[in-house]
Amino acid sequence: MNIEFADVSVKKGEVTVLQDISIRLSERRIGVIGRNGSGKSTFARLFNGIEVPTSGKMLLDGVPERKNLRRHVGFVFQNPDNQIVYPIVEEDLAFGLKNLKLSRNETEDRIADAMRRLGIDHLRNRLTHQLSGGEKQMIALVGVLVMRPRMIVFDEPTTLLDLWNKQKFMATINDLPQHVVVVSHDLELLRGFDRILHIEAGRIVADGNPVSVLDNYIASSQC
């Protein structure tokens, strides 16, 4: 699959958050880096239509899309507390599927399958607010996975995790069959990716393989 930004700008009030972004993305593993306030969170939110362009278009496989982007692209937030809607794990996982109007059997199968795949079946009947940070992030991911998106966007998914959960969560991301876009300040985690975008002041200032983009980014922070 490929996603294309055609002359996309986003303005919030008087402020231009993203300016004239034109780019075509078809790689499986894409990393996004940039300083705080650079516009990368807004950039990430364009992928599944949480944010909509003030001007310009989003194209999915060459076709302009607005409302349907979220059917194809899932989104995992930095803080899983903001993503978990229901008090019980199982109910929460069923939420997105209910919105897709799937049958009870299909819902059941998808939840069981996704939980087994990530090895967290035992969390099924737990209260969501009693889970640890790492467990919550896993549940947030499963809630998106069960909807079987073709691409998943992660906005700083490891910021709130300890070293162990961070490694585990990144390994999980790397094993996903879907296309993934990961926004992160954790540069080491993006080393094995196919393509890195560096966003600064609302524009893409560097675009290429991890070695060149990440090393330049680190160098630019040191002067």
Binding site: I50, F75, Q83, V85
Partner: protein, 197 residues
């Protein structure tokens, strides 16, 4: 915090559908007011006592339910005794006790989850302009938010204690409200991202 006032037992009342229990309760209260008098009240009292016995509630449950109302009931009793007479004062206070205990029978024999499911099931029959999905979402979200708000509250209180402001309600409430509003905004985005509309 989120344990309901349900009292575990197996009785015919526990097995009755919540909708029926609520309907009977409303009817019961209305009858007590429409046919006002010692006879109806006495009959009502006997009926409630029977239900209490049937549902397996103990005397300590009855005391626990009435205790929060004791002071205001005592005040009403004194005022009525002064204004009218002791007989009338007893009537008014006794009627409150019967009403509160009748409601307790329903609360103690129905789980909150059953009650919520009952509401949501009832919504199926509501006319189409009622936003059923939004109501269901609101109920679930609120149950999800209560522990979240309490934990933010706890965090904020610790942070303000470090600055000696933990008895200052404004210093506690402003960060609590602003932080949870931001959370709520992102929750709304997340709900949208998961195809709800």
């Amino acid at each position: 915090m989120l344990t309901d006032l349900y009292i575990f037992a197996d009785s015919p009342l526990h097995r009755t559908r919540p909708g029926i229990k609520i309907g009977v309760l409303v009817l019961f209260c209305t009858l007590l007011f429409v046919f006002e008098g010692w006879v109806t009240l006495a009959l009502g009292g006997v009926a409630v006592a029977l239900c209490l016995a049937l549902s397996g509630l103990r005397a300590r449950h009855v005391v626990a339910t009435l205790r929060p109302a004791v002071w205001i009931l005592l005040a009403i009793f004194l005022v009525q005794s002064y204004l009218v007479d002791i007989l009338f004062a007893s009537f008014v206070v006794f009627r409150f006790a019967v009403l509160i205990l009748a409601a307790t029978v329903v609360t103690a024999t129905t789980r909150t989850s059953e009650m919520v499911d009952g509401i949501l099931a009832g919504l199926q029959f509501a006319p189409s302009w009622v936003p059923k999905n939004q109501i269901a979402l609101g109920v679930s979200l609120c149950l999800r938010f209560i522990p979240l708000v309490l934990s933010v509250f706890h965090d904020v209180r610790q942070a303000q204690r470090a600055r000696g402001l933990d008895r200052n309600l404004t210093a506690l409430l402003v960060p609590l409200v602003v932080r949870t509003l931001k959370t709520a905004d992102e929750v709304a985005q997340a709900i949208h991202a998961r195809s709800f509309d």
